[in-house]
Each structure stands twice: as C-alpha cells, then as structure tokens.
C-alpha cells in the first residue's frame, strides 16, 4: 500500500500546537454561532449517540444469540430496545452527523465566512440535546415499543407514555432538521464567490443542496404525522383509531411520505462525500460531473414518489403497481452515480488513504444494498421478504455500508482540516479491515435468514436459524469492537497527530485553501476558486496547488516533491 507523504514540522510539539490556533475544548461546550464550532458540536454529539445506539445493537445481537428470550426480561423490553436503537441511529446519529460535515465543510467550500444564518444554525443544533433527553427519558418511563416506525394502533392505544415522549422528541428533531436545511439552501444559493457558478460547485454542496430540499419538503409531513399521533395519544382524537372513524393507513402514508425521502436525507450527503474523496485520492476529475450533480436532484425528485413500497403488504392491491415502477426507476440515478464513481477512479492514481479505503468500501457495499433494493422493489418477491431480516439487511447495507462508511471516509478526509493534525493511517487501515469484514459478515447472512422465514423485530425464533444468528452476532461484536479503534485514533491524533498543513491531500476545493484549522473568518482574503473543483492533472491545477502551498508555508511547512 502506498504511504502518504505527510509534511512533518521540525518544531517541537508545543510550537506546533501554538501554530494550530485551535479553539479551546471549552468553546465546544458553549453557545457559538461559528459554523466550524457548530459542525464539531454536531459531529461529536452524533458520534456519542452512534456509540449508545451501537451498544444497544450489541444487546440486540446478544439476545439473538439463542432462539429463546434470555437476555431481556420480556418481549416488550426487547421491542423497546430496537425501537430506541432505530430512533437514535436515524434521528440522533446519521441526520445530525451529516449536518456536522455540511456545517463545517459547505461554507468553506463556498469560500464563505459562515452560514447565511449563524444564529439559526446554533439554535438548530441546540434543539438536539433537549430532544435527545426527551427521547431517552421516554425509554425509562414505560418505553415506546412500536419500533421507530411507530405504527398505530400499537403506538396509540397499546403503548405507554414513553411513546408520547418519543413523538415529542422526534418533533423537536424535525424542527432542528428543517431549520438546518433552510440555512444550507440559502447559503448555497447566495454565498458562492462570483466565479463559482452552480456548475462549478463542489459535489458535496450539490448533495447537501438536494438533501436540504428534501428535508424542507418532507419533514413537515413528519411533523404533521407526529402531531396527529400526539393528539390521538393525549387529546382523545381518533385519527388512527378505526373505532372512531380513523384509519391506520393514514399514519403509514404520511410517515413514509417523510421517511422514504428521509432515507435519501441520510445517504445523499454521503454520496457527496464519495465524489470528493474518490476524486481527490485518485487524483482524477469526477467522471461526468454534471450527471453526478443532477442525479442527486433526480433521486430527490423521484424519492418523493416511492413511499408506498413500504406498504406493499397493507396497501390496496391495485395501488401497489405504480409504486413498484417508481421504486424501480430510482435505481437509475443511483446507478449513474455508481458508474460515474467507478469512471472516476478508473485510470487514476489511487492513494490508499483511510478516507479512500472507506470510500471504496462504500462502493463495494452500497452496490449490494442497491441490488437488494431493486429486488425489494419487485413486488411479488417483496411480498415474501417484506418485514423480514432481508429488509433489515438491505437498509443496513445502504445506511451502514453506505452512510456510515461515508461518515468514516469524511472523518479521515476532513479531520486534518478540522483539527490541523493528521490521523494515524495505519490505525485507519486496521479500523477499515475490522469494519468492512465485521459489517459484511454481520449483515450479508441476514438476507438468507430473512428469505428462509425469520421476520424482523422478534426476540425469539425457531432453532433452525440459530447457526445463522450466531454468525451474525459474532460478526456484530467484531464490528462493535472496530469503533474503539477509530475513537482511539481520533483522540490520539487530536493531540499528537502530525501537523497537517493547509492542504495535505492537495485538493482543489476551497476548504483546503486556508489554514488548518481555518481562522474564525475562514479566509484571510476572499479566496479565488480554481476554475474546476476537480481539474486534477493539468498544469494549471498543479500551479494553483503549488501557489496555495507556498502561500501557507509561512505558518506551516510546505510539502515537497509533489511533482
């Protein structure tokens, strides 16, 4: 494997630290309107929830080691466990985690001094801690046990008060998401430098734009659904109670009208990250830039027309066909991205940095999630595997194999910019190997148990499935262990990592054309974007990067021998 030439300062560590001019750790615990502080606040808190949700996943897998109910005290306790696992992973980890990278990177990529509405930005973040407290409190008072999808009447007539708190918490998180998204849209449309047309904008910005448009359009539907749920629970209304003239499918329709597009809220920013990382680390322009950007918009648009495939076993039979067709079609823009990424690395000069490894891991795993997605779209086959472990496998392939791998790629890629120090590449490679194989052997066998007849969300199962489940659980523990490697790496690198310099990856996007970490106002002077954000391999781009190295070499040692 190629090693990365990392510029190392000759100075002592203290001098290095002085040169970094990082915010004090206490700054991260306070109200701040600096998008870079807010980005880290989002990221660290989201990762914390990732660990809590992950610990719950470990408990789930421990329970499923044997066919009998033995770890949890009751089936209901097990139901609460996966309910809170799903809720934390979706609302408190993955969505805020993309807000973290979006916040830190997007204004920098646009050459802006901050987000368009700094105060709103901080407010959106600070809604998360109280919402998290409410959701987690709910877990301790007769916890919600209807799954993160909370289908009534299980979530209305048959659940305790924890369900009310769950809905209130989710409501707050939705508000946070809407405010953050409005901020991104306004920032991206209004705060680009004059030279940067939409078609010269980095693809992460395209992805965040598409994501934000989805979030602004879809999240109000979640709010509506949650409001009706709360009214049914506390005010005696009967929106979802058939005995009072309500309809349980009303919830499913509104909920999935948000929650299917929300799947793209969770994965599109990861696709943006992929475009950045693959291009930079294979030293080659993004193949078919326009189609990659447009396909984000295509996914956002078609994503609003597929929601009822989550209801293939409950929807009126005649309505199932149109949703099958739209669901099939959404594979096309996703395929465009996959092929374009392959075209990007094809013929490049691939550097096997940790960021690149996770990006390649994304490609390798996401294609499996994509194939199983098309299989699930095929209505007759879906009828068989609907609500089984096949589905559990599918959405972990796109949300873990996809989004989480992209989160790790983003972490290794932008950590130097955020902290001014490089992460340990050797540990990163070990982390990748454990995560990739731990993931593969956890989630791939789930396809099989699902097809064989194991429904999802069960604490007890028939003995025939035990060998599969033990393989899955063992691999899950390996996967769980792998996260300690990256935690150690982050902490160690934060204090002792080699000094990164302004542009350790020699990337052309604007976030690298300033010091690491950037000053409070991001750029000393208004930065001039290179004509093409991914124009690697030309003399002009080489000269541009050399000039950047030179400009920042006063503060930080320049990289040598890059040509």
């Amino acid at each position: 494997m190629a090693t990365i030439a990392v510029p190392l300062g000759a100075q002592g560590e203290q001098q290095e630290a002085d040169a970094l001019r990082r915010p004090a750790l206490s700054d991260y615990l306070r109200w701040s309107v600096d998008h870079k502080i807010i980005g880290v606040q989002y990221g660290v808190s989201a990762f914390l929830f990732f660990m809590i949700g992950g610990a719950m996943a470990m408990l789930i897998r421990l329970e499923l080691w044997t066919p009998a109910l033995d770890v949890m005290v009751s089936g209901a306790a097990y139901n609460s466990l996966f309910t809170i696992h799903g809720t934390i992973m979706i609302f408190l980890f993955i969505i805020p985690m993309w807000a973290a990278f979006g916040n830190f990177v997007v204004p920098l990529q646009l050459g802006a001094k901050d987000m368009a509405f700094p105060w709103l930005n901080a407010f959106a973040f600070w809604l998360i801690p109280p919402a998290a407290v409410i959701v987690l409190l709910g877990y301790f008072v007769s916890p919600a046990e209807a799954g993160w999808t909370s289908y009534p009447p299980l979530s209305t007539l048959f659940s305790g008060d924890g369900q009310t708190l769950w809905a209130l918490g989710a409501h707050l998180l939705g508000i946070s998401s809407i405010m953050g998204s409005i901020n991104f849209i306004v920032t991206i449309f209004n705060m680009r430098p004059p030279e940067m047309t939409l078609w010269r904008m980095p693809l992460l910005c395209w992805a965040v734009l598409a994501t934000s448009i989805i979030a602004v359009m879809a999240t109000p539907f979640l709010a509506g659904a949650l409001t009706l749920l709360l009214l049914d629970r506390v005010a005696g209304t009967t929106f979802f109670d058939a005995a009072g003239g309500g309809d349980v499918l009303l919830w499913q329709n509104i909920f999935w009208f948000y929650s299917h597009p929300a799947v793209y809220i969770m994965v599109l920013p990861g696709m943006g990250v992929l475009s950045e990382v693959l291009s930079v680390h294979s030293r080659k322009p993004v193949f078919g830039y326009r189609m990659v950007g447009l396909s984000s918009m295509g996914i956002a648009f078609v994503g609003f027309t597929v929601w009822a495939h989550h209801m293939f076993t409950s929807l009126q039979p005649e309505l199932r066909i149109p949703f099958m067709i739209t669901t099939m079609i959404i594979a096309v823009p996703t395929g465009i991205k996959m092929f374009s990424w392959l075209g990007t690395i094809w013929g490049g000069k691939i550097r096997f940095t940790s960021a690149m490894l996770f990006a390649l891991g994304f490609l390798s795993l996401f294609v499996i999630g994509g194939i199983s997605g098309v299989m699930l779209a095929a209505l007759p086959f879906d009828i068989h595997v609907h609500d089984t472990y096949f589905v559990v496998s599918h959405f972990h392939f796109v949300l873990f194999g996809g989004s989480v791998f992209a989160v790790y790629a983003a972490l290794y890629h932008w950590f130097p910019k955020v902290t001014g120090r490089m992460m340990n590449e050797r540990l990163g490679q070990i982390h990748f190997l454990f995560t990739y194989f731990g993931f593969l052997f956890t989630f791939f066998p789930m396809h099989v148990v699902g097809m064989l007849g194991m429904p999802r969300r069960v604490a007890v199962y028939v003995e025939a499935f035990q060998p599969w489940n033990q393989l899955i659980s063992f691999s899950a523990f390996v996967l769980g262990f792998s996260s300690f490697i990256v935690i150690y790496n982050v902490i160690k690198s934060y204090y002792h990592g080699p000094i990164a310099g302004a542009n350790p990856w020699r990337a052309l996007t604007l976030e690298w054309q300033t010091t690491s970490p950037p000053p409070a106002t991001n750029f000393a002077d208004d930065p001039i974007p290179f004509e093409d954000p991914y124009g690697y391999g030309t003399e002009a781009s080489g000269a541009y990067l050399d000039a950047v190295d030179e400009a920042f070499s006063g503060a930080q040692p320049a990289r040598s021998g890059s040509h």
Partner: protein, 438 residues
C-alpha cells in the same frame, strides 16, 4: 473543460488478465448460486412460490451480473490504478464520456423496466381472484382468520347445518388446514393491532388492518394454492408467522399450514372429525368447556399448561380453581370465574394492567360472542384447573348456573339445548357478522 481523448487511460495487461479471471469467476459464481437457491429459500409449497422464485432467479442473475461487474471493476481499479510508491503525480484529466453516460443511464433503465414488466405479470397472475375458491365437497366455504395479540385463529364457515338449521363453524385455532390444489382465499381480520399473516413456504403475506367493528371491521384477502412438494410426507406442515410488530409476544405469534394430500385426506383427518365433534358435543360440562374455551382467543394472553398456552399478557390460569374462592370477598369461586370472563373489569389481578377483551352474549366482535351455556361449560372446565378446587364440583350443574343467574341474571340451559340451540346462537352471530363484512 478539455476532453481530450488521448488522455483515456491505457489498460495494462495485468488488468486484462484480472478481468478475464473475474469474468470466469462470475459465470461460475452465478451458476453455483442457482444450485444454492434451495438453501436460501423455503420449500416451494404453493403455485405462487414457483413464480415468485422464478422472479428471484431472474433478479439474482441480473443482480449477479451487476454485482460481479462492479466489484470486478473495483478490484481491477485498486490493483491496476494504484499509485506506485514515490509517484506523486496526478491521473489523467478526463472529465467524462457522454456516450458512456448515455449507455449507463439507458441500459439500467431498460433493465428495470423489464423487471417491472416481469414482476407485474407474476403479480397479476398470483393475486387474481380465482373462480372457485375454498372448495370443499363441491361447495365454496369461507375461511376466516382472526389475529389477536398473540395468536392466530382460523374459522371454517362450512356449508353444513346442524339439526336446527344453523351453519356449522369449525374453529381450528392457530392452524390452517388445506389440501393440494385447493384455491385458498382467506379473509383476514384483526382484533387489536396490525398483524401480518405470512406463510414463508407459500411466499404470501398480507397485513391485517384494524377497522371499525361496528362496520364489520376491515377484512383483507390472502390467496394461494398449495402444490405437491416432492419427497414430503402428507399431511405436511408449514409455518405461519406474524411479520408485523404487534407487541410483547410478536415473536411467538405462530401457527401452521397443514396441507393434506387431497380432498379425501382433508375430509377424513380434519373436516369430518371436526364437524362430528361439533354435532356431538360432550354432555359433561367440563369436557364441553375444554372444547369451548379453545374456540376463543384466551390463549393469546393466558398461560394454561393443560392446553399448552404460553402467553403472559394476562394472569396465569394454572391452578385458578385453587384461588378463585379467595379473590373477592363475598364471591364464590364460580361467581368469581364467571364474572372475570363476562365482566373482566370488575376485578383486576394485581400486577396486570391490561383490560381483557369483552366476552358475552351481546358483544360486537363475532368471535367473542359467548352464550350463557358456553360460559357455564367454560366455568366448569376452569373449576377443574388446580390441585383442589374452591368450586362445588359435586353439584356443578346447579352451583354454576346459580352463580351465572346471581351475577348476570341469565337462565342457563344445562342440557346445552341438545336440540342444538346453544351452539347455534353463536354460529348465527358469526354468520351474520360474516355477511356484514362481505
């Protein structure tokens, strides 16, 4: 943006070799997979399962090609296009190829349209209502499935009548009985939350949706036709599971599809004996009660070892006869048990916070209708559950009817209306409800 063709990366001989090896592996892999299919899918026990599995083959072959193509290109890339040590230069400035982009937009689009058409055909073929369904002895009967937390109940509304002219209804509990070639058409109805009726070997699944009981609920349909599985001994048994989260006991909400070899075997082993038992109920109230209690959904909440009930939502019924006399001061054991069934809100066993479903002569849910005579026999049966009994079992035929008279004011016909009245009433109510929903 310059788009010079000269920059197209050359493919090294190593990459060609890797490509060839990979193509070979993919062809072998796809072939191998088709032999692997029986390991990853249950037996094909219905006509539908064969067409669904055909679709699965098609999906696997197309998916396999995509999988091996993309993983192969990835593998070639990481081998052939890795930066050599010390090489800090950039790759070629190659921005794209419109023709290639059109190809990888149009071909996948054509593939998914093809898959949609194939799926549509299989779907319409499988879901189309059959002309003759649930045919038994040349007549179409209704098979109703009730889902309640956490048990399945199957009811056969037969075309047979008792002496009083009432339609006979067979309750086969968690098991569906059918035979090879019968076009099964189930009417599904839930009593509480959403359940999902899934028979993996049949490849069919349908949710049960709560509806307004006053309007006959919200019945949904499930259709399949069992076929012969080579090497299977008949009657053959296949699992039914609940696929939609329904609460604490979701994982143990199970049942079986019992497929008989032909209609004769179905009639001999299931249908006729069941009808015979209904037409000739035991005169002994205890035996009668043991039969009656299994026609209700009591097993979805209670433990009772004598009948292998395992649910824990409600209090255990093991040894109920030992405790019944001491539960409520001033109430005899008979009165207490009768009250607990028809008016379950009157006394709540400590530690259990869920209200039991309503049973009685006038309740709306057809499956919960219970005549005074049925109550009498069920109380008699429960009075035998325990080491000793607080009930006056020597005089059960007067003590229990008296208790029912005292608490609810109903006269009990202790002969069970051997002319058929008692059983008939509930059958009537069920038949009516069935008509409403149809």
């Amino acid at each position: 943006m310059d788009n010079t063709r000269s920059n197209i990366p050359a493919i090294s001989p190593a990459a060609v070799v890797v490509t060839a090896v990979f193509l070979l592996v993919s062809v072998i892999g796809i072939n191998w997979f088709t032999t692997f299919v029986p390991v990853v899918l249950p037996e094909q026990a219905s006509a539908e399962s064969k067409s669904v599995d055909e679709l699965f083959y098609i999906l696997m072959i197309i998916g396999g090609v995509v999988f091996f193509m993309i993983q192969g290109m990835l593998l070639i890339s990481v081998i052939a296009f890795r930066a050599r040590p010390g090489d800090h230069s950039d790759g070629p400035t190659y921005h794209g190829n419109p023709l290639l982009e059109v190809i990888w937009t149009v071909i996948p689009a054509m593939v998914v349209v093809f898959l949609a058409v194939v799926s549509y055909n299989i779907w319409t073929q499988n879901s189309e209502p059959k002309a003759s369904v649930n045919m038994v002895e040349g007549q179409s009967i209704s098979i109703n499935v009730t889902g309640a937390r956490y048990a399945w109940t199957h009811q056969y509304v037969t075309e047979r009548f008792d002496e009083a002219g009432n339609q006979i209804v067979i309750n086969s509990g968690p098991d569906l009985h059918t035979f090879i070639g019968q076009n099964v058409d189930l009417t599904l109805q839930t009593q509480d939350v959403i359940h999902s009726y899934w028979a993996p070997a049949m490849r069919v699944k349908q949710d049960l949706l709560p509806g307004d009981p006053a309007q006959g609920g919200r019945p949904t349909q499930l259709r399949f036709t069992p076929v012969r599985v080579e090497g299977r001994a008949y009657p053959a048994e296949y699992p039914i599971v609940c696929a939609e989260l329904c609460g604490d006991g979701h994982g143990r909400m199970r049942g079986s599809v019992i497929v008989y070899e032909d209609e004769n075997q179905f009639l001999d082993l299931f249908y006729e004996p069941a009808i015979h038992a209904i037409l000739n109920p035991p005169a002994d109230p205890v035996l009668r009660g043991e039969m009656e209690i299994q026609n209700y959904i009591c097993n979805s909440c209670h433990i009772l070892d004598s009948l292998d009930w395992t649910a824990t939502t409600g209090p255990s019924l093991n040894g109920i006869a030992e405790r019944a006399g001491e539960r409520v001061p001033g109430q005899s054991a008979e009165e207490y048990i009768a009250t607990s069934i028809w008016n379950s809100g009157a006394f709540r066993v400590p530690g259990y916070d869920q209200q039991m479903a309503a049973f009685g002569p006038d309740v709306v849910e057809a499956a919960n209708v219970m005549t005074p005579e049925q109550l009498y026999s069920i109380v008699a049966y429960l009075c035998t559950q325990g080491e000793g009994s607080d009930c006056d079992m020597d005089n059960a035929s007067t003590a229990i009817p008296d208790a029912i008279q005292t608490v609810f004011g109903y006269e009990v016909d202790i002969t069970f209306g051997m002319d058929g009245d008692a059983g008939a009433e509930s059958a009537d109510a069920e038949a009516e409800a069935g008509e409403d929903s149809a």
